[in-house]
Symmetry: C2
Subunit: 329 residues, 2 copies
């Protein structure tokens, strides 16, 4: 029913080991018989069993990706970069989405598949997890994770760099009092704290911060944002996500506060919709697809035995229609 190399061997009148060699091009096989074998393989629709191969080689041709349970196209685009490159290298992608703690529960599953590498987004993990994988010698790559051990492999988009770009842009436009609209999980980050101290100092800017949601929920922002938050002299808002910027812009417009005339607004991520808002959103663009490809390349290197890797990617500012030179006082 399922065809194996033995079927091919019988057909070709050789031993199945010869078939194995011929099909993979390893070892030495007579050119003619090799051709014959390959032809037969094609004709009967032979497909190698990765499971069987994995048993002897311990190569499953599988990598696992853990993504947060978030319905954002952001991750989907990164996924594209990873998947495309993985496929080119004959790897397939096992996708896992996690709630808060489910990652560790899935640990066993993932080990049982003998994946060759693991990609984890956004620091949902524990040290015990890390050590357990290390014991199995399976490389892990952390993406956009904070507070991870310094010896862990990681690749990240430098969010603080991007935010600085946003503040610098506003400073140049003359803004002196800015609201920093955050998502819950960012509020505790050390680097964000440093940034909050640095901005006023470096740009002579007054900075008000407020948490509007957990994990980029536009709905929460829409509910929590209050125009009073910007009625004390704030002339611009920097958001850590376009998902935060969008509802804020809508709220402002509802209250007849014009963007960017009365209030400048900067988002983060450059999601698909951002360029088509009215006005189009000034934001910090992340090279999503490129990031995906870098992620795979890095993991691939790790799987080939390269040692500890760490990489930063720098986002860039896209000036569109929601920021404007401050004119009146």
């Amino acid at each position: 029913m399922k065809t194996t190399i033995k079927d091919i061997a019988r057909e070709a009148g050789v031993s199945y080991q010869t078939v194995s060699k011929a099909l993979r091009g390893t070892g030495s096989v007579n050119e003619d018989t090799a051709q014959k074998i390959k032809k037969i393989a094609r004709d009967i629709g032979y497909v190698p069993s990765i499971a069987a191969r994995a048993m002897t080689t311990r190569k499953s041709q599988l990598i696992a990706i853990f993504l947060p349970q978030i319905a954002s196209s952001f991750y989907h685009t990164i996924l594209q970069g990873i998947e495309n490159l993985a496929n080119e290298h004959n790897y397939s992608v096992l996708l896992y989405l996690f709630h808060n703690t489910s990652l560790e529960n899935k640990l066993e599953t993932i080990l049982s598949y003998q994946v060759e590498g693991i990609i984890i987004f956004e620091n949902h993990f524990s040290i015990t997890l890390l050590s357990r994988f290390q014991a199995h010698k399976i490389p892990i790559l952390f993406v956009n994770s904070t507070d991870i051990p310094s010896n862990a492999n990681q690749i990240a988009i430098d969010a603080c760099y991007g935010l600085k770009l946003a503040f610098a842009h506003l400073a140049e436009l003359g803004h002196r009092h800015v609201l920093f609209a955050l998502s819950d999980h960012e509020a505790g980050m050390k680097r964000i704290g440093e940034l909050q101290a640095m901005i006023p100092r470096d740009y002579g800017m007054k900075l008000s911060s407020k948490v509007y949601c957990d994990y980029y929920s536009s709905e929460h922002v829409f509910r929590n944002f209050d125009v009073k938050d910007v009625q004390n002299g704030v002339t611009a808002i920097v958001c850590t996500s376009d998902y935060i910027a969008l509802p804020i812009m809508t709220r402002l417009q509802e209250q007849r506060i014009c963007v960017p005339e009365d209030m400048s607004l900067v988002g983060f991520d450059d999601l698909e919709f951002s360029a088509f808002l009215n006005p189009p959103l000034t934001t910090i663009q992340q090279p999503k697809r490129e990031l995906g490809e870098k992620i795979f390349q890095m993991l691939f290197g790790l799987m080939r035995g390269e040692t500890h890797q760490s990489m930063m990617i720098f986002p860039k500012l896209i000036v569109r229609g929601t920021t404007k030179m401050l004119t009146s006082k």
Copy 2:
């Protein structure tokens, strides 16, 4: 290095076959020794090898999902539904994204993993592909696909039903001339053609149709939409995606055509951003997560031997701020 049931067997002083039985709870094993075996397994961190298991059982605990290469949160949400349920049932998800023709190229890969079921979105496939999988007795479920063989398993959101909802809503509001803004790949669909014939007849409505992009590219729509398209008496626009509705709304507003006062607008999908636009978008909501769960349930049934299945899901109208009763002529 990697621990196996034989390691456990040695430790417990029994044969490895007994360990196998004890761990899976099949066959009869002395309760005490079973407990002992399980404890040892836990202690030494035993993880079963799915590859090895798959060799004898032919169950890989794997399903494959083919998704179009589209950076929309729409698919990501459906994925969530599928993945969550799959994991509950101890299945893992192999994710593949395809360009136009790559599906067939990946066929071999997917067969080599001995996946137990396949989910394919949006009719990117061929008949030969279908028959090849049938030969391997691997069930395939088509999602939102059109023009597929009638004996194929499928689940779909009834887009035409949803669109009818949109037109009916506009008809009720008094609109008599509507622009139907399409994406390229829909233009050729039989059911869409039928719909275009039916709407004028059933609602006494004049219907203009225009293709603005291929595959929901907001960018193309933004470039291609021209206010002249609605200057011949059109009072409302129905779009086949929120990604189409968004740039149209922005274009209209740029030209001081107020939504909904001067022009009503209906989207499709209810993406995350849609509720937070200004004004919030009236649209057709698809039960994305629920669809994902239904998809897995259906595939799971198929994998257990259920016969040909077909299912329709009905979307619903969400009236928000972009549609309005037609007042003046």
